[in-house]
């Protein structure tokens, strides 16, 4: 399997109140062509920033280290025009809040045809025709009427579909979805996820799916990566994740999520508060909240290492999972 | 200034804002302490010593009447700052009360008060001052009174908008249910919560009022020429510029610009940070 996207040693620092602050500490992740990877973490864990780093869509003054390779090309060193072409044609992104992420003053039609006309250089009429097709493709009836409407006249779910349609208009190979359903209500959420899944399938699209919802990621994606305090702490096949979480944090996340299978009187909560990368203490960032933490956990920072079919960054991983999957070896690198 | 206050100010206003605040404080102090400062009598005329160059006795030289320019600038800060201060205090007091009443009572009261703001807003400060001057005669008091009225809607509209948001907050309903009186809720909670915004708007108003009053002095419709006042000093010195004595107009002009710029900076900084923090919260 060839990696379409390879992130290696990604570190992002952004200026805040005059100082550079680390929001992504160390991320190593790769996505194969057509593969979907979920990136799970609490707010502030750096997952959105990681996705933006893939498009080099960072706030002014941000410092990025490491490497982001798309189809073998280094994104972080692309010239402005290469970068624009990369964003326009190869990688697309959809966002959490479709309303905020569409220009309120422009019609849906403008929004959709804009990319086609500016990037694909389609003539007006052709662009409009294509926009109608795109809307139909994301399950929107009467595209004609929608095209002349403004974003505030559309529901959130509908608008997110428009966003998806726009993202796919250039036929990208990679879709970055930043919590695309968080702002939607549950039924709409399911619809949007279904459309995403269907389109991905049809277009053989790779996807990085950012969410705070471990279950959702696991249900949607081939593999799932878990982030804590700016770093990836675990990557596993989604199928394995629920029952065999390798990292104590993942384990806690799984436990904290109510499930139709488990009936508990009270959901276990993770003690303490999540921290951002720049707030992370010495040693393992999760140590202060970890029920397995030992004194050495606060002194030594763990790095990602293979364990079984996944990778995990925990000093006690092997010890806590003695049944081990080490035998399988050669697991996918995170 | 305690270190914690200093750092809080610094965070709130930024370095430029703190510098601007220091300028305002210095000018204010100069105005308050004018009688104690070692400067000459600003109305002392000496026709045998006109347009004197700077000397020990007259550090900034003298004007066309042989009066000490430094003394006139120092004493001029009293008129130049007291006028706008009065305008700001009156306009703020009236504007805030009206705005809070409007936002609290809503409905009919709100309609009438908002319409009042609209009407007064239609009279720019200088215009209102001119009309008042035509009615009761020109003068400092008339100008200050007119501007005090003219600036009410500038404070009132902003306060009303902010107070309206506060009044809709659940905490207000909660306090109301607890039996607190409307006056108490407004005075103890609503006004303090929009306080920063009011302070910001008042600071900017101060700057504008300063310019307006100086302009009226320039038109000869403000303070009496013998009274030291920055605007009047600029105007009086204007004809001396051609004769090669730009000093007094220059100094007074610079003081006006500095004072107004400082007010604008502080006002903007306060409201900027407020919005910024508001967004973060």
């Amino acid at each position: 399997m060839n990696a379409l996207l390879e992130i290696e040693g990604l570190r992002v620092r952004v200026p805040y109140e005059g100082r550079l602050r680390e929001v992504v500490g160390r991320v190593d992740l790769s996505i194969a062509d057509g593969e979907s990877v979920g990136l799970v973490g609490e707010s502030g864990s750096g997952k959105s920033m990681t996705a933006r780093a893939v498009l080099r869509l960072l706030p002014p003054g941000a410092r990025v280290e490491g490497s982001v390779r798309f189809d073998g090309r280094e994104v972080l060193r692309m010239s402005p025009s290469e970068l624009r072409s990369y964003r326009a044609n190869h990688a697309a992104m959809i966002f959490q809040d479709p309303r905020a992420h569409t220009n309120p003053l422009r019609t849906v039609g403008d929004f959709l045809t804009e990319g086609l006309r500016l990037n694909q250089r389609l003539p007006k009429r052709a662009a409009e025709e294509r926009a109608r097709e795109l809307l139909r493709a994301v399950g929107i009836e009467d595209p004609e009427a929608r095209l002349s409407q403004h974003p505030h006249e559309l529901s959130g779910g509908l608008l997110q579909r428009v966003m998806i349609a726009a993202a796919l208009s250039a036929g990208p190979r990679l879709l970055l979805a930043d919590e695309p359903t968080t702002a939607l209500d549950t039924t709409t959420q399911a619809e949007v996820m279904a459309i995403l899944a269907e389109l991905r399938d049809r277009l053989d699209l790779a996807m990085l799916f950012i969410t705070h919802d471990l279950e959702l990621a696991a249900a949607t994606c081939d593999r799932t990566a878990v982030m804590y305090a700016g770093s990836i702490v675990e990557v596993q096949r989604s199928a394995d994740l629920h029952d065999r979480a390798l990292h104590p944090y993942t384990e806690a996340l799984v436990a904290a999520r109510p499930s139709v299978h488990t009936r508990l009187r009270r959901l276990p909560v993770i003690p303490g508060r999540p921290v951002a990368a720049f707030q992370a203490p010495e040693g393992c960032a999760f140590a202060p909240r970890c029920r397995y933490a030992l004194p050495r956990c606060t002194a030594e920072r763990p790095v990602l290492a293979s364990l079984g079919r996944g990778v995990v960054a925990c000093l006690r991983a092997e010890e806590l999972h003695p049944d081990g999957f080490a035998a399988h070896g050669g697991a996918d690198r995170g | 200034m305690s270190p914690s206050l200093r750092s809080r100010l610094h965070r709130r206003l930024g370095p430029l804002g703190v510098a601007a605040l220091a300028v305002i404080a210095t000018l204010g102090l100069m105005a308050v302490l004018a009688p104690l400062l070692p400067v000459a009598d600003p109305t002392d005329v000496d026709l045998s010593d006109t347009f004197a160059p700077p000397s020990a006795g007259h550090p900034f030289g003298t004007d066309s009447n042989g009066r000490d320019i430094l003394a006139r600038l120092v004493w001029g800060s009293r008129t130049a700052l007291l006028g706008p201060l009065t305008v700001t205090v009156v306009a703020t007091a009236v504007g805030v009360v009206l705005a809070v009443v409007a936002s609290w009572r809503g409905g009919w009261s709100d309609g009438v008060i908002s319409r009042m703001f609209d009407v007064v807003f239609a009279f720019p400060g200088i215009l209102l001052a001119l009309v008042v001057a035509a009615v009761v005669g020109a003068g400092f008091v008339a100008a200050v009174a007119a501007l005090s009225v003219a600036y009410i809607p500038y404070i009132g509209r902003v306060t009303r908008g902010a107070a309206l948001q506060q009044v809709r907050q659940p905490y207000v309903a909660a306090l109301s249910v607890q039996g607190q009186s409307a006056t108490a809720i407004c005075a103890r909670h609503v006004v303090p919560n929009v306080g920063i915004l009011i302070v910001a708007q008042a600071t900017v108003t101060f700057g504008y009022a300063l310019v307006d009053l100086a302009a009226l002095s320039y038109l000869g419709l403000g303070v009496e020429q013998a009274t030291p006042d920055w605007g009047a000093i600029v105007a009086a010195g204007q004809s001396d510029i051609l004769s090669g004595y730009p000093q007094q107009s220059l100094y007074a002009g610079v003081l006006i610009v500095v004072a107004v710029a400082a007010c604008c900076i502080v006002g903007e900084r306060i409201s900027d940070r407020e919005q910024y923090w508001g967004r973060l919260r």
Binding site: - | L47, G220, S239
Partner: protein, 543 residues
């Protein structure tokens, strides 16, 4: 004479005047105001397309019978001529009347000049002259000169070229006042057609002067162009076009003069004397003038005691005011009527002037002693002046400062020039003042004209109700006194009582006319009010 208001209250901005050189030599009391300043600029050599002239503020009307103030007279002198004209020395000469017969003390017979045409080409007739003069007698027209006409019984055309004015009683000065705008002749038919709008921007004028009124745009300019059919070939205008612009702000005016945007003015700003002279852009003349700067004290209240008023007068240094407030464009003055008004019996006036014994230099100690004798008064004395007039403002600031040293409590108040003018006719405004700063001009070379309004019982210029028979009676007699020397004696006798004894007027300076002419132009009078009563602009051409 009949002229209550013969002395115009001068409300100009940058006024100026007197005689600069005289000012300096006149520092000794005996010659104060006794010098004659420049009256004429070098004659023009050639024609000029046009020039621009600045006025201190906008003309309100150009109807001759209402034109008494600075801007109106500056313009009107070139448009509407009077039956009598004044020489640069303010002596009356024949104007539109080729002969003025005053041999009978109660009639004035005017012979209407032949060959004079109005701008429309129609000839001027006796009917036009009688009609124009008669307008002064109609109270509903609101003519300014009515007080001069109070002794007039009737005006009638008594022949094809004869107009007879009948007086109720002898008035030796009346005919001389026909040189003012009230004596101007307008075309009867035109005035009747325009009614009360005559002399407004819309209705315009119809007169005989060397210039016609081309346009009057309020807020902008008054433009006059040469009248080619003018009756007097010697006075044919050298300029094709003259534009008047009102510039109230002294700094703006100074800028405009230095940059040559405006060619000239009769009131160059005192503050810009140095700069104007250094600019090389033109010539600054210190023209002779009858302008007298003085303070009129209230006769009750803190200044109620004549000794206090006298002390104030003694404490003021008139040479300092001349040199510093006026930048040398004024000279110390001890009397109400300056030497430029001494049109006759000059020796009598000069001797009386010296006897007034009001010194140009201050005697502060003597003044303080006098105040101690009288007891320093309590109560605030408001000193009033126009705000635009820089020298006036400097002067009253100085007066207030001197007053402070004498232990008088003085407060300075300056008002915009137009509001200042209301003081003259509004008793309410006057009620607030304790000491009024003023600059008067006298139109005729007749000191009686300067003094009478100040003492006239119930007169509108007798601001603080002054009434001392010792001053009033000699002046009343003077009106009927035909003999110049005798009249001069009566006048100086009254002046002595007014100035030296009662101190109802504190004389300060005789102010020069600061006339500016750019290097493009020259010619004609540089002295005000002389320029107001002769078509001065007709003389102006290239140097």
């Amino acid at each position: 004479m009949a002229g209550t208001l013969t002395i115009a209250l001068l409300v100009i901005g940058a006024c100026s005047g007197g005689d600069g050189r005289g000012g300096r030599t006149a520092a000794s009391a005996s010659t104060g105001g006794n010098q004659r300043g420049t009256v004429l600029s070098p004659p023009a050599k050639g024609q000029i397309d046009g020039f621009t002239w600045a006025l201190p503020f906008e003309a309100v009307t150009l109807d001759p019978i209402k034109s008494w103030n600075y801007p109106e007279n500056t313009i009107l002198a070139n448009l509407c001529e009077s039956v009598v004209r004044l020489s640069p020395e303010l002596q009356p000469e024949p104007g539109l009347a080729s002969k003025i017969d005053t041999s009978d003390p109660t009639t004035v017979v005017l012979t209407v000049r032949d060959g004079v045409t109005f701008w429309d080409g129609s000839p001027m007739t006796a009917e036009d002259v009688a009609f124009s003069l008669n307008r002064n007698l109609q109270p509903n027209l609101g003519g300014y000169f009515a007080p001069f006409w109070r002794n007039v019984a009737s005006v009638a055309a008594t022949g094809p070229s004869r107009v007879t004015i009948t007086l109720k009683q002898p008035d030796v000065l009346f005919w001389k006042t026909l040189s003012l705008a009230g004596g101007a002749v307008s075309k009867k038919a035109y005035v009747e057609r325009k009614g009360k709008t005559y002399g407004t921007p819309k209705a315009g004028l119809m007169c005989t002067g060397p210039f016609t009124l081309e346009s009057w745009t309020p807020g902008q300019s008054v433009v006059m162009t040469r009248y080619d059919g003018y009756w007097n070939p010697d006075l044919r205008a050298k300029a094709g076009r003259v534009e008047f612009r009102a510039v109230a702000d002294q700094a703006a005016l100074a800028n405009a003069l230095v940059t040559g945007e405006i060619d000239g003015t009769f009131y160059a700003p005192v503050a810009a004397i140095r700069r104007l002279e250094a600019s090389g852009a033109g010539t600054l003349y210190r023209g002779a003038s009858t302008l007298a700067q003085g303070l009129i004290p209230r006769l009750d209240g803190p200044l109620g005691d004549a000794r206090i008023r006298k002390a104030l007068s003694m404490a003021l240094d008139r040479s300092v005011i001349s040199e510093q407030a006026w930048g040398g464009a004024a000279s110390p003055l001890s009397s109400i009527a300056p030497a430029t008004t001494w049109g006759y019996a000059r020796d009598v006036f000069a001797k009386a002037y010296d006897e007034l014994d009001i010194k140009p230099v201050a005697d502060l100690e003597a003044a303080k002693t006098l105040v101690r004798e009288a007891g320093a008064p309590t109560g605030t004395i408001t000193v009033w002046s126009s705000a635009e007039n820089r020298p006036a403002v400097t002067t009253i600031n100085y007066v207030a400062d001197v007053g402070k040293e004498l232990g008088l409590n003085m407060k300075v108040e300056t008002v915009p020039i137009q509001e200042y003018a209301t003081w003259a006719y509004d008793p309410r405004a006057r009620a607030k003042t304790g000491l009024f700063h003023t600059i008067w001009w006298t139109d005729l070379a007749e000191p009686l004209q300067a003094l009478w309004p100040l003492v006239e019982p119930q007169g509108s210029s007798n601001y603080y109700g002054y009434s001392n028979p010792a001053a009033v009676e000699p002046l009343v007699k003077a009106f009927a006194e035909d003999d110049d020397t005798a009249r001069a004696r009566l006048v100086t006798q009254a002046q002595r009582v007014m100035v030296a004894e009662d101190v109802m007027w504190i004389p300060l300076t005789n102010v020069a006319t600061l006339t500016w002419m750019s290097k493009r132009i020259t010619g004609g009078p540089v002295s005000v009010p002389a320029a107001f009563y002769t078509p001065w602009a007709a003389h102006v051409g290239t140097p």
